[in-house]
Structures are given as structure tokens and as C-alpha cells.
């Protein structure tokens, strides 16, 4: 009975083993210790920045100048556009925001409302910006973002295919668009005309604003889609699919839209300036002389158009706000914007930059003219989600799962429910 591992010193094997769980606590204590000394490490550690799209991929090229001038290294992380909204929200909730972040302008009010981004410290940072742009990034009378680029949608069109169908340039009215589409479809029955993916809302939102639909009512607390204007936009959108002018496809099906455009599968692509870079990178597939740009068609000619313009914000969680704002100032300066324009084709938000000769390219002229007529999105933080719901309703109409009337009534109902919390807060006077 004795001798169960007991030794002269009184230690038993079991005693020793019993201490093993305690070892688990040591690393925990170690972490707590190292966390308690911030200080010096920060100076050498890089500023972090998150950006989407080509901006995310190419921003590192703009950083050497900044690092040379200030001695601050910058680490850029590129986010996939489709997953960026949830990633940014989750980062905020988890306290893991980068110092500087890119936001699409439509998201700025949302992130300002939840306190994720800081107000712009100096009015000089937002001087000389295109009119209307700052309305989207202002919240409660303060600016929360420095507009970086403007990205109205235009139509990219295949010059050769349109020429064969008897057009030098695409028409700017809805009826004209349809006539042209019929002419193209007659010559190319196996192909389509419009490249509008069924889960990508910008095309339909643009049609809604061009038709003059006010999408929300009662101080933006209820859906307003059962109006003649909204009905006209939805009906026109759905008719392009019903007549076989646009393929009923999601982004998961047309995985390479550039190739779809280059092969003539579609000959009109409503898109933004990012497509300029897509085409430049794949000029072997789609040579420069085969395509051009024009303003998007509206019910009675070109009108206001939405897009995915982007801004730079500084996180409210950053511990180095001064350096972060310095980076924003550097990236949004006219020379940086012009350099960026050459690199990735995106268009400067500062009007002063547009006097540069590189922006006189005829391909950019429709963008510049479109910027004089921006479409304003309703200033509610649920807007991103409402857009997704609008597109889902449209998809149900296009696929004939629901009739137009049923889909619009269901959309109003759905949007009313999404806005229930906002409605309660507005009625209580908590928000404007």
C-alpha cells in the first residue's frame, strides 16, 4: 500500500501530475504581461489600411512615397468587394479595425452612425470635391470621410458589334436601347446584348433613380415601391430579360464578365471605372479599338446615375489618428489621385485633378459629364440591405416566380419591416 510512488521528499507522482493543468495558465499570464507594455513597439509597427477592388491591390504602390516622406511604413490588406461590408462590421464589433479604411460612399453614414469612423479634422481635406459627393459622406452636419474616387456607371459598348447593327454609338433613351438590342439580337441570336448580373443591384437602382422613383417615404421609414415610377423601372428592367436581351445569370455563373464582353456574348456592359482597368489588363482579349463608353440610357435620355464611389476614413479605434489622417491626406492629394488614375483608371474625386491632360481621354468624357448629375441614395443605414432586397424582388419577377404587382407589394412589406427599428427611433425623436 505504501510505495505508490511516494518518495523521501513527500512528493508523489500523483502530486506532480496534478500540477500539469496549472502549466496551462503560464502562457495566459505570459500574454497578459506582454500586452501591458505598448509604447515603443508602435513606432516601428506599420499603419494598417484596408481597401477593396483595384484600390486594395494597387495601394501598396502609392506607399513608398508616403513612407519616404514620413518614415511610417504602411501595410495594405486587399478585401474582396462582395465580402467587405460584413468583414468591416465584424472588425468593428470585434475591435479589430485597421487604422485607415476605404468605404464605398453609401456605407459612410452607416459606419458613422455606429461610431466606427472619426469625423474629418480639417475642412481643407474635403475641399474642391465634386458637388453632391459630400452629401453622401456627411452625417449630423459633419464630414466623416474624404472622397477618394468617383465612379458613376456608364455603358461600355462593343464598337464593332454596334457598327454591324447600324449604330455608331448606343442610344441614350430606353426605347432607343430596346430598338438597338433588337437589331443586335437579330444578327446574333445566340448571344445577348446587356451584361447585367441578376445579383448586382446597381443597374436596377440606376433605372429607379432615372425614372424618378423616390424609393422610401415617410421620412425614409417605409418602402415606396408601388408607385408608377418604380413600376416603370422594374417593368423595363424585367422586359430586357423577358425579351432575351440580357442573360438570366448570377455572378456565380458568369465568372468572367470581361470574357463575356470580349467574346460578344454581351455587347453593352453598364459598369464603372474599375472596368477600364479590367480591359487594360486584358487588352489581348479585348483590344482598345473594339470598345468605347457612353452615358447610360434613361427613360427620356441620360439622367442621374448611381455608382460605387469610394472614400477614405480613419477608424475610431486607431491609436495613431494623426498618422492615419496624414496617410489619408497623402492618398487623396491631387498628385496621388492622378498617379492612381494612370495605374488603375479610377477617377479623381477632386475637381482640380480633372484639369490634368491625362483626363482629357475621350473614353473618360461620359464619366465627367455623368458626375455633374449624381443620384442621391436615401440616407438610411439600412440602404445596403434594402438594395439587396430590391434586387431579390427584381430577380423573382425576372424568373417569373412572382408577378410584378406581388413582388412590389412584398418588397414594400419587407422594407417596412427592415426599417421598423429606424421608424421607432424616428418617432421617438432619437434620430432625424
Amino acid at each position: 500500500m505504501e510505495g505508490l510512488g511516494s518518495t523521501a521528499s513527500g512528493w508523489t507522482r500523483r502530486d506532480a501530475l496534478g500540477l500539469i493543468p496549472a502549466l496551462g495558465l503560464v502562457p495566459v499570464a505570459g500574454c497578459a504581461g506582454s500586452d501591458a507594455v505598448p509604447g515603443d513597439r508602435d513606432k516601428a509597427s506599420p499603419l494598417t489600411m484596408w481597401a477593396m477592388s483595384w484600390e486594395g491591390d494597387y495601394s501598396p504602390l502609392l506607399m513608398p512615397d508616403f513612407t519616404a516622406a514620413t518614415g511610417i511604413p504602411v501595410e495594405v490588406q486587399s478585401l474582396p468587394t462582395t465580402a467587405s461590408h460584413e468583414k468591416l462590421l465584424t472588425a468593428f464589433a470585434g475591435g479589430a479595425m485597421p487604422d485607415v479604411l476605404m468605404l464605398f460612399n453609401g456605407w459612410v453614414q452607416e459606419f458613422a452612425t455606429i461610431g466606427a469612423v472619426q469625423p474629418v479634422p480639417s475642412p481643407a481635406l474635403v475641399a474642391d470635391i465634386f458637388p453632391g459627393v459630400l452629401d453622401a459622406t456627411r452625417f449630423g452636419g459633419r464630414d466623416y470621410a474624404v472622397p477618394w474616387s468617383v465612379a458613376p456607371q456608364v455603358q461600355f459598348y462593343r464598337r464593332d458589334i454596334l457598327h454591324d447593327a447600324g449604330y455608331d454609338a448606343p442610344p441614350e433613351s430606353w426605347d432607343g436601347w430596346r430598338t438597338m438590342a433588337r437589331a443586335i439580337k437579330r444578327r446574333r441570336p445566340d448571344d445577348y446584348v446587356f451584361l447585367m448580373l441578376l445579383n448586382w443591384p446597381t443597374g436596377l437602382i440606376t433605372m429607379l433613380s432615372q425614372a424618378g422613383a423616390t424609393m422610401l417615404r415617410d421620412r425614409n421609414t417605409r418602402g415606396n415601391f408601388q408607385t408608377p415610377e418604380a413600376r416603370a423601372a422594374f417593368a423595363y428592367y424585367a422586359s430586357l430579360y423577358a425579351d432575351g436581351y440580357a442573360p438570366m445569370a448570377l455572378s456565380t455563373e458568369i465568372q468572367d464578365p470581361v470574357a463575356a464582353f470580349a467574346t460578344g456574348y454581351c455587347s453593352i456592359w453598364p459598369s464603372g471605372p474599375t472596368t477600364l482597368k479590367d480591359f487594360e489588363r486584358r487588352a489581348d482579349l479585348i483590344p482598345r479599338h473594339r470598345w468605347a463608353t457612353a452615358r447610360l440610357a434613361g427613360p427620356q435620355g441620360a439622367g442621374p446615375v448611381s455608382g460605387l464611389s469610394s472614400s477614405l476614413c480613419v477608424s475610431s479605434q486607431t491609436r495613431r489618428p494623426r498618422e492615419a489622417w496624414a496617410l489619408v491626406r497623402h492618398l487623396t492629394s491631387v498628385p496621388s489621385e492622378l498617379r492612381y488614375q494612370r495605374l488603375i483608371g479610377n477617377l479623381p474625386a477632386r475637381m482640380g485633378a480633372w484639369r490634368a491632360p491625362q483626363l482629357a481621354d475621350p473614353v473618360l468624357r461620359p464619366f465627367a459629364r455623368q458626375m455633374q448629375q449624381p443620384a442621391a441614395a436615401p440616407p438610411v443605414i439600412e440602404w445596403e440591405r434594402i438594395q439587396a432586397e430590391i434586387q431579390l424582388a427584381a430577380e423573382r419577377v425576372v424568373r417569373k416566380v412572382q408577378t410584378l404587382d406581388v413582388a412590389l407589394a412584398a418588397l414594400d412589406n419587407r422594407v417596412d419591416r427592415l426599417l421598423a427599428k429606424r421608424r421607432a427611433l424616428v418617432e421617438a425623436g432619437a434620430i432625424g
Binding site: R14, L89, A93, T252, E395, R396, R399, A410, K421
Partner: protein
């Protein structure tokens, strides 16, 4: 408490503490969240948080998409479990045959899809299913069948994803069944054959009773797995077309992590929990009646 008891508790304490911290506590907190209206407004300011009682559950029941998601999930489970288990069992029986050569090689090859990355394989399968260039439609055309818009048609999107899922996961249960089949008594099989039992009779009365418990466990795990299907529709179709592949878990992810309606999302999680619990209880009952468990 004896010395031995103390030591036992001391040893299990770290694990119990971790389970309590990362499993029990979050589950209770999620249950708490499901009776609040936690949304992006509460993320902005805690004072916007309200207790809503069963409000989230009532709202869920009147949300068409939620019912759609339940229906889609049941369709995934109802079709997917027989497809996956059936394929696993069939292939395991094939591999179990004495005449098959190079068994280890076949096992490795058939198991390989299970351990590949889901996103990478989904990209490949999206191309295979492509309506215009896909190999599957080419093969159908060779048989004289008109091309199908597999992932673009709300009626074929679930079968298409199930084909992909079955290919991806059948290898796991195949290995499990192979192990179970090797335990089928050879003398019993021999006796049945001498008594003139048919191939089906031997399977039904000798093989099946022997692998019954394994089959039940595999089915139970598969049902639980299919009720939680998410990644496959997420990477293949994004829940589309026309939300025909939106599952309960996809719905929950959208509500919770995409739009931060954590109150609503927690309610969905609770409903899903009850669903899985119910299915498991039923299956255990069946197992008990056959004295498998």
C-alpha cells in the same frame, strides 16, 4: 471527496472550464440575445437595445424567406442523406468484394475529395455545371438530352449542389462502412450462401444487421450535417437563383453576420437547434427499438 475524486476533478477542470467558457456561456448568451432586438442600432448605442420576448420568433414565423429556407433545408436533408449514405454504402460494398484489386489505392482516391478544399472544388464544379461550356451538359448532349441550366434554374439548383456535396463527402462514410463490413462474420455469410440465400437476402439478413448500428450513427451524423448545410450553397450559388438554395444556416449567417441582426439570427439558431434535437431523438428511438444502441 476522496483524494482520488479531487485528482479527477483537477484533471478535468481545465477542459470543463474551457467548455463552460467557449460553449455553455456563448450558448446561454445567444439564447439571451434571441429575446432582444439586437441590431446594428444596438452596435451603435447599447441604449437602443430592447427586450422583445418572443417577438423575434413571431417575426420569423411570418417571414416568407424563413419558411423557404426551412423547406430548402429539408429538401437538402431529405434528398441528400439517402444520396450520400447510399453512395457511401454502395461504394463500400463494391470495395469489399473479394475480386477487387488495389483496394488501398481505390480507398485513397475515393476518399480524396473529402479532404480537398471546398472552395477550390466548388469552383471546379461550377465550371462543370456551366450551362454553355460545362462537361456535364456535353455528356448529356452526347446522350441526346437537352442542356440544363444547372445552377441558374431554381428547380435544378438543389439537385446540382447535392451532386457536388455527395461527391465531396461520400468518402468519409465509405471508410466507416468499410470498417464495419470487415466485421461481418464470414462464417455466417458462408452458411447463408450454402443455404441458398440470394445476394439481396444475404445483404438484408446478414450484412445489414451487422452494420446496422454504424449505419444509424452515420445517418444521424449526416442528417445533422445536412441540416447545417451552408458552405456549399454559399460558394456555388450565393443562395440563389431566386433564393432557391438559401438554407436555414445561410439565412442565419445573412441576418447575423452580414446585417448584424444578431437578435433575429439567434432566434434562427435556436429553431435550428430544436430541429436537430428532434431528428436525433426520433433516430435514437428507432435505434433502441432495433436494439442497436
Amino acid at each position: 471527496m476522496t483524494r482520488q475524486d479531487r485528482a479527477g476533478w483537477l484533471f478535468s477542470a481545465p477542459v470543463l472550464a474551457i467548455i463552460a467558457l467557449v460553449f455553455v456561456l456563448p450558448t446561454l448568451l445567444a439564447l439571451g440575445l434571441s429575446v432582444t432586438d439586437y441590431s446594428i442600432y444596438a452596435l451603435a448605442d447599447w441604449s437602443n437595445l430592447r427586450f422583445v420576448g418572443l417577438g423575434n420568433f413571431i417575426a420569423l414565423l411570418s417571414t416568407p424567406l424563413f419558411w423557404r429556407a426551412i423547406g430548402n433545408t429539408l429538401l437538402f436533408a431529405g434528398l441528400g442523406v439517402p444520396m450520400a449514405i447510399g453512395t457511401s454504402l454502395f461504394v463500400a460494398l463494391l470495395l469489399n468484394d473479394a475480386t477487387v484489386r488495389w483496394k488501398p489505392l481505390w480507398r485513397v482516391l475515393l476518399f480524396a475529395p473529402y479532404v480537398t478544399s471546398i472552395v477550390a472544388t466548388a469552383v471546379v464544379w461550377r465550371v462543370l455545371f456551366n450551362a454553355r461550356f460545362g462537361l456535364i451538359n456535353r455528356a448529356l448532349a452526347a446522350l441526346g438530352i437537352a442542356p440544363l441550366d444547372w445552377l441558374g434554374n431554381p428547380h435544378t439548383s438543389i439537385p446540382a449542389i447535392l451532386i457536388f456535396v455527395t461527391w465531396k463527402i461520400f468518402g468519409y462514410n465509405m471508410i466507416v462502412f468499410t470498417a464495419a463490413l470487415s466485421a461481418v462474420p464470414a462464417d455466417l455469410m458462408e452458411a447463408a450462401r450454402l443455404d441458398g440465400a440470394s445476394r439481396w437476402g444475404r445483404f438484408r439478413h446478414v450484412t445489414l444487421p451487422a452494420i446496422g448500428p454504424t449505419l444509424l450513427l452515420a445517418t444521424m451524423m449526416s442528417v445533422a450535417g445536412f441540416l447545417q448545410i451552408f458552405a456549399e450553397p454559399y460558394v456555388m450559388t450565393l443562395g440563389g437563383p431566386a433564393q432557391s438554395t438559401t438554407t436555414v444556416l445561410y439565412f442565419m449567417f445573412d441576418e447575423g453576420f452580414k446585417w448584424w441582426n444578431l437578435g433575429q439570427a439567434s432566434a434562427v439558431a435556436f429553431v435550428l437547434f430544436l430541429m436537430i434535437l428532434a431528428v436525433t431523438i426520433v433516430q435514437t428511438r428507432i435505434g433502441k427499438r432495433h436494439e442497436w444502441l
